[in-house]
Symmetry: C2
Subunit: 199 residues, 2 copies
């Protein structure tokens, strides 16, 4: 089966590319990890870059779904929309534990996939958050002085940075669940942008 081979290679390649980066992993290593012949990579993906692109698309798939869902089933208030995002963050990272590594690797050292895959989804998320905040400011939910674009980046940062620093942080933060962290961070953020006198 063609699909078996493709998924076998993608699944074996994902942790290798994630932990060591595209350039530092050889196709022989990938083939051995997937228990296939080296030629299979060229045969099914057209080369190392093709396999990497397939891995990246598989990683970003949950974001694409979530984004499509948000575009249709988005609630009214800014706060509710931000909450949806805050809940999606640990869910997506739980579903794709390596996604954060690929996202940051692409932001720091963009490959050819950056424009087509990464930039598209990140921009979509940014616009969703930006509009939610702008609407919230306009509706009097959030402080009037808030810059929506900057505040969108702030929220993305406060929620996602933890997942990057996690391997390093786990020795420092003894026994802290993802859920716990995201809840406290989101509470801090919301308390920070909410209008003091808002009901």
């Amino acid at each position: 089966m063609e699909q078996d081979m493709r998924t076998k290679l993608i699944e074996a390649a994902t942790p290798l590319f994630a932990k060591r980066g595209f350039a530092a992993v050889s196709i022989r290593e990938l083939a051995k990890a997937a228990d296939v012949n080296v030629a299979a990579i060229s045969y099914y993906f057209g080369g190392k870059e093709g396999l990497y692109t397939a891995v990246l698309e598989h990683q970003f798939a949950p974001i694409a779904e979530k984004q499509a869902w948000l575009a249709q089933n988005s609630p009214q208030s800014g706060e509710e929309r931000l909450l949806l995002y805050a809940q999606a963050v640990p869910a997506v990272h739980g579903q794709r534990p390596f996604l954060i590594r690929f996202m940051h690797a692409e932001m720091i050292n963009p490959t050819i996939c950056f424009e087509a895959v990464v930039k598209k989804y990140i921009t979509g998320l940014f616009l969703f958050l930006s509009r939610a905040i702008a609407d919230g400011v306009a509706a009097g939910e959030f402080k009037p002085g808030i810059n929506p674009g900057q505040a969108a980046l702030s929220l993305a940062g406060i929620l996602n940075f933890y997942f990057i620093a996690k391997p390093l942080a786990q020795s420092l933060l003894a026994g802290c669940s993802d859920q716990e962290f995201v809840e406290q961070s989101f509470r801090i953020y919301l308390d920070g942008i909410r209008r003091d006198d808002h009901a």
Copy 2:
């Protein structure tokens, strides 16, 4: 002069390593960029890894200095200590524009330098923030429920994420200065952790 050669190589290697990663840059490329012979890398740094280590140490030097200074001249209140950090963030990124890339590259794909260089400084910063927040909670400055370790990561995230996403964000955030972003983010964060009834 030996020092001339070393700094010439380090300065030429910094943007290459930062933008493309350690594995994706060849020593011939490094030598050409620095306008020296390939053998100079082995001669002065003992090899490619030695040059990378030297680049990394040069990048982290401002953090080391700042940390040593903080250890002695640290103010009393938690809020003042957090402010010192918030002011240091854009200053350091201004002084070392590529530092954020090296830090994240090391967190995502750790090289041999990670333990010796990166982990040390990050842990130091984390402890500084953690203690500042814990003291602030104990003193009644900050909300009683706050988990200091988690909140330390939140602050690092809300302030630093912007500098990672910057190349991507600059097309979205039209005309926003680093200073502006950090000020708003820090205000949001402080308003989020400060006790509502605190003077």
